[in-house]
Symmetry: C2
Subunit: 659 residues, 2 copies
Amino acid sequence: MPLPVPVLPEGVDPAWLPPAAFRAVGGRRTLIRGSGPLVETVHGEVAEACRRFGGRVVRGGRVDASYDLVLDAEAGGLGAEGFAEERAGGTTTVTASAGRGLLYGLFHVVRLQEAAFTGERAREVHRPALALRMLDHWDNVAVHPVMGQVERGYAGGSLFWADGRARGELERVRAYGRLLAACGVNAVCVNNVNVHETEAHLLTDRLGDVADLAGAFRPYGIRTHLAVSFAAPVLLGGLPTADPLDAAVRAWWAGAVARVYEVIPDFGGFVVKADSEGQPGPFAYGRSHAEGANTLAAALAPYGGTVHWRAFVYDHRQDWRDRTTDRARAAHDHFTPLDGRFAPNAVLQVKHGPMDFQVREPVSPLIGAMPHTRLAVELQATQEYTGQQRHVCWLGPMWSEVLRFRLGDTSVGELARGGLVAVSNAGDDPFWTGHPLAQANLYTFGRLAWAPDADPGDALDEWIGLTHPDAPRRLVSGLHAVLDGSWRTYEKYTAPLGVGWMVQPGHHYGPSVDGYEYSPWGTYHFADRDGIGVDRSRATGTGFAAQYPEPWAQVYESPRTCPDELLLFFHHVPYGHVLHSGKTVIQHIYDTHFEGVEEVEAARRVWASLGDLADPARHTRVAERYEEQLRGAREWRDQINSYFFRNSGVPDAHGRRIH
Amino acid sequence: MPLPVPVLPEGVDPAWLPPAAFRAVGGRRTLIRGSGPLVETVHGEVAEACRRFGGRVVRGGRVDASYDLVLDAEAGGLGAEGFAEERAGGTTTVTASAGRGLLYGLFHVVRLQEAAFTGERAREVHRPALALRMLDHWDNVAVHPVMGQVERGYAGGSLFWADGRARGELERVRAYGRLLAACGVNAVCVNNVNVHETEAHLLTDRLGDVADLAGAFRPYGIRTHLAVSFAAPVLLGGLPTADPLDAAVRAWWAGAVARVYEVIPDFGGFVVKADSEGQPGPFAYGRSHAEGANTLAAALAPYGGTVHWRAFVYDHRQDWRDRTTDRARAAHDHFTPLDGRFAPNAVLQVKHGPMDFQVREPVSPLIGAMPHTRLAVELQATQEYTGQQRHVCWLGPMWSEVLRFRLGDTSVGELARGGLVAVSNAGDDPFWTGHPLAQANLYTFGRLAWAPDADPGDALDEWIGLTHPDAPRRLVSGLHAVLDGSWRTYEKYTAPLGVGWMVQPGHHYGPSVDGYEYSPWGTYHFADRDGIGVDRSRATGTGFAAQYPEPWAQVYESPRTCPDELLLFFHHVPYGHVLHSGKTVIQHIYDTHFEGVEEVEAARRVWASLGDLADPARHTRVAERYEEQLRGAREWRDQINSYFFRNSGVPDAHGRRIH
């Protein structure tokens, strides 16, 4: 039985799967071969498209020339997720070895639109580079008094939870899964890595809520994961300890996992934030993170589950007066001694940078330092430090730079053998992501997780094409223009030269140069009247630069070789220091901040000029957010420029107004 | 029938009315003459003291030599609150013309302890200098999502409200009223001046809750006031407008007030925060504050009620880039044109300084600029900006400086014809004020409201003596030592030279030099690499200094004459500017911050040395808070010194450690 396509609630934006995106497929004659639940999903998709656009779909039987499209899940050799696509003799053929591969193949054809049915197309095999392509939702079940329903969420409430309860809007969850499948995501963790009291119970007495979500995701090939508390044996099991080497603790985890798999046979596994920002962990019992992770991994192993163990471990109660501790070093210091000690189904999940999702960071050296450990790399689609979905900031170029960055002989994309993970930016907002253009981040993440070496600009253009299938050229180029450079624009008007952290404490929106300067969070810039930056060199600083393999250790060691955009991350320099660009640091600060605002003004003008072409609700929402972005960019410009002018006393070379 | 003394709940501290404070009275033979409810209160007090200490009390009848104490409410000429006290022929006599005066006379005798019954005492007449001595409680009925149960409260929950309901613990309210009467307070406003949705209803359908509180306060001579929303006619009355000149609005207020007086015949009146920090007000209707206040005053006039209209009106959405707006000017600019326009029962309630309860501000020039308006002066007992009752900061000297300050020929204490008001620092904490030593602020406020020209040190010693009636000399002198200089100590380690506002935004605890520097709140210090301070001179600055009468306008106009402690409030000066003290500004900053911490260390040692003498629970609580105070003082010292060292580049002359 074909599975009906999920129906969106009234007023909810179809994002990158509007009905018109299926016009090319829906107008054709399609043959579908194969069986299994995901083939039924494929059938449902094609049937719905045909209903709308007049085509026909046939299930099973012989391939013949009367078909425009053959979707065949009975081929061999393509694995669970791979597919091949070709066009010959007037028939486009997608072959796969399983339903999931066929589904990805169908969405591939959808993306191609009319091009899928034009001319000849040589056979291309598509396989995901990474087996795990996951979204972590920092969604709370109960509203947290400080963090709210969704921690660092900027898209309304949660799709899964509301006020302590499961929302039960499984049709929308299914629609979300469909969007994710269309960009290649195959795993979702449904609750916040900060596991509070209510959320801990999802593992046991509230498992039914998780099973409901898993049921909604399953038809789109998405496995459900759960963030759990390391203290669960104590919190939920009533044991006196959560010591990972304690036999009763191990037995408790084994029992809990067995019960999970009884109701969710394809359960993905756990995500654990342990000994991190106040969450419990193995340190309390004198155990290592490997011992902690392996106990959970042992419980999951019989069922094929995985534990994702976050490497985000640092001293978050640091004294700002202590110059010997460097938060950037922490993950490498903590975890490299454990390389090779993690179980095969334990994945160490490492944030892409050594700090925490700033607009510019170097790649985390830990990613290249664990050759005997499965690593996942974690990105942040939710725009915590990049404008909170009130500012346009398409992160594709940043993520691509990270994934293509080479540590030794290997790119980060290749090193991420355990998968690519992003913190989701989606919520119950009608546009899914608050800012309609932030949908592009979610889409791009999925596509880069599938192919980390892909050109992110191609993903952007795919997103534009799918989201606006009938768009005239001016709209397409306008959208590309306002998104393509938006990350660099955001970087320009916010924290310069890799210094980061000049945000308002707590909520992290808007500028506060000294907001984190005297805090316990290990986030300092050390600006004074003479200069700014953190000396992380081996010779005179914290030694963080030496955590990199060559050539990076040497490149980052000296201000002469360090790339401009990371200069203040690695070095404390005088304001008069001359960058590779030929500008002084202080003039660079002034210039980029003026330029950043000008670029926002220009983007806003482009957007305004598209009012006749874009969907009115979408256009209005984006236009409103551009007002806020412009206000915010000016605030950033003026605070940053004033702060550094007051500190340095150096006037702007161009005599512009600094308050 | 004598009114029984309120019984404190188990574990609640008796503050400055421990049973032993009544030993001298309770061991005597006392005659009470007069009638009325407050005489019954007096009778109950004496009866309880006698029950405990073996004395006797007789009601009515002739005065004869067998009495040690005569409390006579039937004398003439002393007004509602005055009393006379003398001792001759072995009898101490207190005379009053009303029950309230007699109650104050009794507490006077209690304060004197054995001295009241020793030798001869010449007749002294005591009358309060100010008719209104009020505490404003910023207590919310419903817990506010940001501000909590008590806005700027540091003493647990509210005595009156909890989670949207009246607490109904009227015995404790009565005990609170008793404490207040013992220091001379005669009015309490029972809800926050920021009147939110739930609280607005106290005026109408939840009036019964207010009447209950009024009933508990009444036996101790305290009238109950209510903070109301200027928009009440719209919010509660369903009218389309709250325009104060609209006839229906005026009728609505008249009706509402009539209903209040039906159930609370001695109701004190309203407190109104209008057009201030988002509260509604007359500006919305193009009306002046006098027109707004007078409409409420007209409704209250037939019953003898008063409207307290707060002058805390300023632009709280200021752009920090706008140097032409000066928040310090705002109250004077807004209200002086309205002098003489307020109804006789409208009191303009003015904060003592032009900003907002910083540790050091000049006196508000508005206080001297409204000769034809009844003014009340508002102080802040709750330690929002002075250590939040985790730090010892006895505010007596600051308040006394304010009250004795002369604007023209008249002191602030004399100008406050409408009364003295303090924001209460009391809550449901077992010690009433969180920090046990913060009780001294509440007590001192009451005594200064009674006699604004009194020596605050005398009030402190009274508080010490009452609170610890059997204390050995070492405890008394130790308590005096740790409290007496604590305000200047707090000033030393926090914001220097009158600059203020170097606090963490929002909660206002702990240092953040730039926390309010780029904010919309009008609170700036303009520190740069060369200097710091706000130029408020007439010649080159905002002109605020010119709002003062002479000699102050001239004194404040120039850094040569401006007192050191207010220098940065009035002037922007280089770090090398030499103070009257002979030190440079930068060295003063360093020195005071080191000294402040040393003074806290010394006070902590004094307190530790009293462990054998003080009540254990009280000693432990204070000792714990000293740990936090010391931690906090060091944090202040290090952040402030680091910030200014980084900015100025000037090393400490004594080579001490600056981080």
